[in-house]
């Protein structure tokens, strides 16, 4: 079979748009602080034009074809290259699109290939039928993922709108964005022109914030306290709303299903992403529960895999699942793994270490910083929370071995339960301080295979005898396999 093609010509302009997007802030800053506006604009657009022309030639020369079970690609304007990727080396093909591309019946196809050093990715923008043809040629045994979703051969998990909203309402990640925006603004205040600064600080939203320092130094009256409080509340509400909307846009229409040896995921409202994760590449599954999600009985499921996915191989396979549905979800989507709620936990004598680490050390750090910054004193009100959290950390840590699976559970603030395939475990380390040695306790550090970086899992203050059992289980399972 032979298929000759290149990306759609619109990819040239989309690439230019990406450059505009990434350089827009620099342009705005230059225009704000330099007086030669027309000269800057002239240089900017000339550079943009040159880039577009160069990309046009690169586009002309970038041709791909499928030939004898090999994906072949020619590229290069001055230095001509032909790269061959045998189908057997292709780990996965992912699709993504957005409203605009949907209208033009186009789709991004991202082909993941194992290289000699690290995974490579080839991205093409092609008509949907060509995308389908590429997929069917590379993976002839599996039917095209979209037709499969319609056939519904396995159970399809799809996120409900009410879950999506609840997920947004109970996520506070975007509050940090607002906080960082605020602190960054404070840091660069001196460089921002006075007129803009006045506009910002006179707006109702920020009117109270300027009393922040003053108030902590004891110079705040009731009126200012109210203004300060309402400003902070408004900022929080704003961050919260941004969180709800961005969550809804990102994870809308989230669907996941098992298709033979792959997990197929697709999500996004305006930008649709499709991911295929081969089971054999999956190293472990993590169930994450933030405090709020735990309260409402929900969790997030992630897998770490070698070869595909973004964020160093971490892919969300379901963003907001009812805890009682985990068993069903795992049975349908990844039956190679079994759910487990029995753990060998740290003994009572280990609670002392959890309390010292979780309460005493943070309080000492807060005390030291409060010598330099008065407002740090406010953090002492967190003490009761630190006590409860340390107790929970002790209660929630644990380890469990079962056939070919290792279960580790720990809590920082959120609770994480990771389920490892035995094949993903690389090395074991027992770390002991002199006191732990006397009490026959130790911290377990287990390394697992990942794409680029070393990843160690730590569970603290468990019995040494359990560590010995863990090693025996590992080597016994390996010997049985031989």
């Amino acid at each position: 079979m032979k298929l000759l093609n290149r990306s759609h010509f619109i990819s040239i302009f989309l690439n230019t748009l990406v450059v505009v997007k990434s350089t827009f802030m620099i342009l705005v800053l230059l225009l704000l602080f330099q007086e030669e506006d027309s000269l800057i604009l002239c240089i900017y657009f000339s550079l943009l034009f040159t880039f577009t022309v160069l990309h046009f030639f690169a586009w002309r020369k970038r041709i791909f074809r499928l030939e004898d079970d090999v994906f072949k690609m020619n590229k290069g304007i001055f230095l001509k290259e032909e790269i061959n990727y045998p189908f057997s080396k292709i780990q996965g093909i992912n699709f993504s699109s957005n409203v605009f591309l949907d209208f033009l019946k186009l789709e991004y196809v991202s082909i993941e290939v194992y290289g000699s050093q690290e995974a490579e990715r080839v991205v093409l923008l092609v008509k949907k039928e060509i995308a389908k043809e590429i997929y069917e040629n590379v993976f002839p045994s599996s039917e095209f993922k979209k037709s499969n979703i319609k056939k519904n051969t396995t159970k399809l998990f799809k996120i409900q709108i009410k879950d999506l909203l609840l997920m947004g309402v109970t996520s506070f990640g975007s509050l940090f964005t607002v906080y960082f925006a605020f602190t960054t603004y404070q840091q660069y205040e001196a460089f921002i022109p006075d007129s803009i600064q006045n506009n910002i600080s006179n707006s109702f939203l920020f009117s109270g914030v300027k009393y922040f320092e003053e108030g902590l130094n004891g110079g705040m009256d009731l009126h200012n306290i109210l203004l300060f409080g309402s400003s902070i509340l408004l900022l929080f509400a704003l961050g919260w709303l941004i969180g709800i909307v961005s969550n809804a846009l990102k994870y809308a229409k989230f669907t996941v299903e098992r298709e033979k040896e792959q997990i197929q995921i697709s999500y996004g409202l305006f930008t649709t992403k499709t991911l295929g994760i081969p089971i054999k590449n999956i190293q472990y599954l993590t169930v994450q529960e933030t405090l709020l999600h735990q309260l409402f009985g929900f969790c997030k499921l992630e897998v770490q895999s070698v070869g595909v996915g973004t964020q160093q191989g971490t892919s969300i396979i379901y963003p907001f699942l009812k805890k009682k549905d985990i068993k069903l979800f795992i049975e349908e989507i990844i039956p190679e793994i079994k759910e487990n709620n029995t753990f060998v936990k740290p003994p009572k004598r280990a609670l002392f270490f959890y309390l010292v680490r979780g309460i005493v050390l943070p309080l000492i750090i807060i005390y030291i910083f409060s010598m330099f910054y008065k407002w740090v004193n406010l953090l002492f009100i967190l003490t009761p929370f630190l006590i409860v959290l340390s107790y929970w950390r002790h209660k929630d840590s644990g380890v469990y071995m079962n056939e070919k699976l290792l279960y580790l559970r720990k809590r920082t603030v959120r609770r994480e339960t990771s389920i490892f395939f035995i094949r993903s475990l690389q090395s074991f380390n027992l770390i002991q301080s002199p006191i732990q040695e006397k009490l026959k306790l130790g911290n377990y550090e287990i390394a697992t295979a990942t794409e680029n970086e070393t990843l160690y899992f730590k569970v603290k203050d468990l019995e040494i005898s359990t560590y010995e059992e863990l090693l025996a289980w590992y080597y016994d399972s390996f010997n049985l396999e031989q």
Binding site: M371, F372, S424, L425, Q426, S427, F428, N429, L430, I431, Q432, S433, P434, E437, G442, E445, A447, T448, A449, T450, T454, L455, Y456, L471, Y474, Y475, F478
Partner: protein, 154 residues
């Protein structure tokens, strides 16, 4: 059972020398920092930041070399490599031989001065070092691990 092999005897001198270099580096940092605090009139609390550096410097120069060389042990047994490492906090490391991806010996100018070499063991998700072995022992150990890994693979 704990592994029985120890680091080369000269390791003690190597770590003492490293400790002295480390201390000199800290002294330079403290002197430069103090100059800036004096020049630009920072809070006198800033001088306190030098204390942990001095304490750590003394630890690395006096206690660490003795404790570390006393503690470090390694052994290749059956299908695993066992290491014990650390000075105060002790790590007991267990690397399955069938997970070893590659293994290398390396030698910087300091190690060369003492006729020592470092052995590094890589798995798909972790890296461990046997930091100062006699050159010939490092080579032998590397070859031994490579041949054992091959045997297991076959």
């Amino acid at each position: 059972m704990n592994p029985k092999n120890r680091l080369a005897e000269k390791s003690l001198d190597l770590y003492k020398l490293k400790g002295i270099y480390n201390m000199l580096f800290y002294i330079i940092i403290i002197l430069v920092g103090s100059y800036f605090v004096y020049k630009f009139g920072g809070s006198s609390y800033y001088y306190l930041l030098g204390i942990p550096l001095i304490v750590h410097g003394i630890y690395k120069m006096v206690i660490f070399p003795i404790k570390f060389t006393e503690t470090f042990r390694y052994e290749v047994v059956e299908n695993k490599i066992n290491l014990i490492s650390g000075a105060i906090i002790i790590s007991k490391i267990n690397i399955p031989l069938f997970r070893v991806q590659h293994i290398q010996t390396s030698q910087g100018p300091l190690l060369k001065k003492f006729g020592l070499a470092q052995l590094t063991i890589h798995t798909a998700g972790s890296v461990y070092h046997i930091p100062s072995l006699k050159e010939n022992i490092a080579e032998e150990l590397r070859e031994e691990i490579v041949s054992l890994t091959k045997e297991i693979d076959e």
